[in-house]
């Protein structure tokens, strides 16, 4: 079965700061949704031939990724295929697109194989180490730091099309792989 929320994440709270954060959130939600929202990403995920690596093709809105990289780096970033930008992208993916294994191990993308950058659909291609014998939870909070209405979908290619995973700010982590 895929689609369960990852249990440990729900318990990570800092009770002492709840009131302050809640107040800030009330302020945030006063911000209207972008008049014409389009904040989604889509990932195709499949096992590599070695059986211990996941290959990911990830489609993002280039301007949203550019905004996220700019915020993260503290200076304006233009999304072009250069070593500098690749480093930024990989670091961003490490924070927002990673696996958590049943044993508690966090597995980050290890190689950005390439990028196809186009206005209507920009794709990032990268790999993740993945122990197939374990249950694996996918954390996909991509671009939720740019817009609170961001939703991300991931399609495990070993599953039926209808079993697409849907990640939201309220549920950024879902079971991806049952384990052998």
């Amino acid at each position: 079965m895929i689609g369960d929320a990852f249990p440990p994440a729900a318990s990570r709270q800092r009770a002492g700061r709840t009131a302050l954060i809640w107040g800030l959130w009330l302020a945030l939600v006063a911000v209207p949704a972008w008049p014409h929202p389009w904040h989604t990403s889509f990932a195709e995920i499949d096992w590599a031939a070695d059986g211990a690596t996941l290959e990911v093709a990830l489609r993002v809105l280039p301007e949203d990724l550019e905004t996220a990289l700019t915020w993260r780096s503290g200076e304006a970033v233009v999304l072009v295929d250069t070593p500098e930008v690749r480093t930024l992208v990989l670091a961003y993916l490490a924070e927002h697109f990673f696996l958590r294994s049943e044993s508690g191990q966090t597995l980050h993308p290890d190689e950005l194989v390439g990028m196809d950058l186009a206005y209507d659909a920009s794709w990032l291609y990268f790999t993740l180490p993945a122990p197939p014998e374990q249950r694996l939870y996918l954390h996909d909070s991509l671009l939720m730091d740019v817009d609170s209405s961001q939703t991300n979908r991931a399609q495990p290619l070993w599953a039926a099309p209808a079993d697409t995973l849907l990640f939201t700010p309220a549920q950024p982590e879902l079971l991806l792989w049952q384990g052998h």
């Binding site: 195709e44 233009v78 250069t82 186009a118």
Partner: protein, 785 residues
């Protein structure tokens, strides 16, 4: 399989080249999916006819506004006073009126703020911190100073969050009008930090503000025949439902500001310099774009600080709303643009920060939009069409729209700096063109076809996004449209949870996909694959014509599309607009039946050939060299040892002759027809019924394309078997070869199956993979810092 003659007689009932083989037991899903909408639609009345047209008793209210507004450039505040003339054109008597106070959404206790659910704080958007701080410090909400009758008496009124109820001194009978005034003030929000539909942008380098002012005055709520007062609270997504009327608006701003607004400028001689006036008048005589305020003049104006004010006066007729923009930073270009037989003054206002992109693409995008949209709807009915660059990402108002994209600070933007061979995402250029097409296109839906946005977002956003796609594709070949092509909606269609398109605007899940992309794609599929362009375009234009300056409901749209085309589309509306299923059709099973002619000279050799096709079994292969008993002892041989089961005997001829004598000439001809009978089974895995566009490949290399209408699913919507009769051998069948149905899984679309390669694998197999380019600096561009 070889058909017996009795089988043939059954098949011969099919007089066409193909037919449908019904399943033995048909689940009820077919009739359900093809059931008429009936109870799902409003009951037709003489106000809204069963044909989808407005009826003889159609009515709608009207509101005229006279507004005086002052823009406080020091305090970023609006101070306004309005006189509203409300015309009760309904057949009902009204005891009170409702107005919308949209700015109250920015109050900390608004329903919008309080009704949002909490996020996962572990992944709190750090990028939104600036938004948080700005909003937490913003003193939002409208301050109603007075509500008075025409005679100056105070009117009782009640504010319920984003709605204001005004008590009428006397009930307002049908056909009567009521004049009253409202004075108000509110602070203007920083739209760069909050993403609002209107607000200001502050430019630190030259200490100037740019204002885009919207939802800024108390506006009449709509009173309708189907809803009564449309006074649902504004929660953020469901935009605006408004009455048409005439606006006379006086906007007082610092004298060095340039103002763009809904309507026609009434006093250009008072607010423009002689040079500006001359250029403004010249622009109205030419289709050649020219500056009214040049970039150099706008740059110089940034340093101006006047204490003098000017009042710009605008008049707009038959509009449902009014918005304006003001800044001393504005460049202003203009030209006349044709829309059918009319000419429209197309204008753009933008700061130098938007250059060089805006002077090249903004006004041409306006002109292109009204040209293309007019062909599919009606001539653009207003005298002006304006695009303003500022902090608002993209928002529409009558005659004026706010559009955000700008080039980078060094003035470069994508599609200019890229090398020709390096196709990349050209963000700013196409982002700008697309958003202008979309926002200017909104003049048609919902500014003129005045649908109820608060209730149905898709009625304007979906229809507008559909025409946006058509307009983008008419801009240039391979325009990178983000919405419209069926394959782009698949990921959303298979996702969960979803809501149907027919969901109230505030309850929609995955808003952009649901209300923009899915209806736009549905209409594109309807046009290209179901109705055809001629029938669709006629019906769509009829809908626009019928409801121009009127307020349609979904039923009016659905009914008109059928009424004007003679195509029963209830199954389509039911599946695409009332449901959340998706298209996934699998080509599951193919069987070949050939006719048993009973002619022994034909059948016996065919039977032998079929047997010869069989590979010997392993035992037969391994025993091939072994001597058998019969070989060792020939005396054991007899008739049956020597006989050939495939040889033709006199008895066979006699049987055939007997058959021939029993057949009519017509039956004999059919028997001699050399035909193959293929049955192909299609499974509807996704649930959403769809036509079956097919490509059939024959052994001789020829290809045939045909489309089976969606009605094939009307009795059994889960699985159907289709018969194809052909004289040739079929070597392949493919469903949806042009990706025209939004089919979710192409891997099961073909027989024989085509292996699906993952996108990752395709990328790795590219001839010129990106990693190779990393070694060649000529292929790079350095980031702009």
């Amino acid at each position: 399989m070889r058909l017996k003659f009795i089988d043939f007689l059954v098949l011969s009932l099919f007089t066409l080249a193909s037919g449908t083989v019904a399943a033995a037991t048909s689940p009820a899903t077919g009739p359900e999916k093809f059931a008429q909408l009936e109870y799902l639609l409003d009951t037709p009345t003489e106000t809204r006819l069963a044909s989808g047209a407005p009826g003889p008793t159609y009515w709608q209210q009207r509101a005229d506004y006279r507004i005086d507004v002052t823009l406080d450039d020091r305090g970023q505040r609006i101070l306004g006073s309005e006189t509203i003339t409300y015309y009760n054109q309904s057949p009902h008597t009204l005891r009170y009126l409702w107005l919308q106070l949209d700015q109250n959404r920015f109050r900390p206790d608004s329903d919008d703020m309080l009704s949002r659910t909490a996020p996962d704080f572990a992944h709190f958007p750090y990028g939104s911190l600036a938004n948080l701080l700005t909003r937490s410090e913003f003193d939002g909400g409208v301050d109603i100073k007075a509500v008075r009758s025409e005679g100056g008496d105070a009117l009782e009124h009640t504010i319920n969050k984003t709605m204001l109820r005004v008590e009428l001194p006397q009930p307002l009978a049908a056909g009567e009008q009521f004049v009253f005034s409202v004075d108000w003030e509110h602070n203007i929000i920083d739209a760069t930090e909050t993403g609002a539909r209107g607000g200001y942008e502050y430019f630190e380098e030259d200490e100037n503000y740019l204002y885009e002012i919207a939802q800024w005055y108390p506006r009449m709520a709509a009173y309708t025949d189907y809803q009564g007062w449309q006074n649902k609270q504004f929660l953020g997504n469901g935009e605006f439902t408004l009455e048409l009327g005439t606006f006379d608006v006086a906007i007082t701003v610092p004298a060095d500001h340039i103002v763009a607004a809904t309507g026609v400028l009434q006093n250009p001689k008072e607010v423009l310099s002689k040079k500006q006036l001359s250029r403004y008048e010249a622009a109205q005589e030419s289709t050649e774009q020219r500056f009214v305020v040049t970039p150099e003049e706008a740059k110089k104006n940034e340093g101006s600080r006047t204490s003098v004010a000017k009042t710009w006066r605008f008049r707009a007729e038959n509009v449902r709303d009014f918005a304006f923009a003001s800044s001393r930073k504005f460049i202003w270009d203009a030209r006349m643009a044709p829309s059918g037989s009319r000419e429209v003054l197309a204008m753009s206002f933008y700061p130098n920060e938007a250059e060089p992109l805006w002077s090249q693409y903004s006004t041409p995008s306006i002109a292109h939009t009204i040209d293309v949209y007019s062909r599919y709807t009606f001539e653009y009915p207003y005298p002006t069409a304006i695009s303003v660059n500022g902090p608002v990402g993209g928002m529409e108002y009558p005659m004026i729209s706010f559009n955000k994209p700008r080039p980078y600070k060094d003035g470069t933007y994508w599609d200019v700096r890229q090398k020709p061979e390096d196709k990349t995402w050209e963000r700013s250029k196409y982002g700008l063109i697309s958003v202008i097409i979309h926002e200017v296109g909104h003049n048609y839906f919902p500014m003129v076809v005045n649908s109820d946005e608060r209730q149905w977002t898709w009625m304007d956003e979906g229809l507008n996004t559909f025409l946006q796609f058509i307009t983008e594709q008419a801009w240039e070949e391979e325009y990178p449209s983000r919405r419209g092509e069926p394959e782009k909606i698949v990921e959303y269609m298979i996702s969960a949870p979803q809501t149907p398109i027919m969901t109230n605007s505030e309850s929609i899940y995955q808003f952009g996909n649901n209300a923009y992309a899915k209806p736009a794609t549905a209409l594109n599929i309807l046009r290209e694959s179901i109705m055809g362009r001629d029938l669709f375009d006629y019906a769509f234009q009829e809908y626009a014509r019928r409801w121009k300056f009127k307020r349609p409901t979904p039923a009016d749209f659905f009914r008109t599309m059928e009424d004007a085309s003679a195509v029963d589309l209830d199954w389509f509306w039911r599946g695409w607009f009332y449901g959340t299923e998706y298209v996934d059709v699998a080509v599951d099973n193919i069987a070949l039946y050939q006719l048993d002619t009973r002619d022994p000279d034909v059948e016996k050799p065919w039977q032998k050939a079929e047997k010869d096709k069989l590979e010997p079994t392993l035992s037969e292969q391994r025993n091939a060299d072994a001597e058998t008993l019969v070989q060792r002892y020939p005396k054991l041989r007899d008739f049956y040892t020597e006989s050939d089961e495939f040889s033709v005997t006199p008895w066979d001829y006699a049987q055939f002759e007997q058959l021939q004598q029993s057949l009519t000439d017509r039956e004999k001809a059919l028997l001699n027809a050399d035909k193959n009978f293929y049955t192909v089974t299609f499974s509807n895995i996704g649930g959403l019924v769809t036509p079956l566009p097919l490509r059939i490949t024959y052994a001789d290399g020829k290809v045939e394309e045909l489309q089976i209408p969606a009605e094939i699913w009307r009795r059994n919507a889960e699985q159907v078997t289709k018969l194809f009769i052909t004289g040739k051998e079929i070597t392949g069948i493919e469903f949806d070869p042009y990706r025209s149905t939004a089919d979710a899984d192409a891997a099961n679309n073909a027989w024989p199956r085509k292996p699906k390669t993952s996108r990752f694998q395709l990328f790795k197999e590219k001839e010129d993979p990106n990693p190779m380019r990393r070694g060649n600096k000529e292929q790079w561009e350095q980031p702009i810092l």
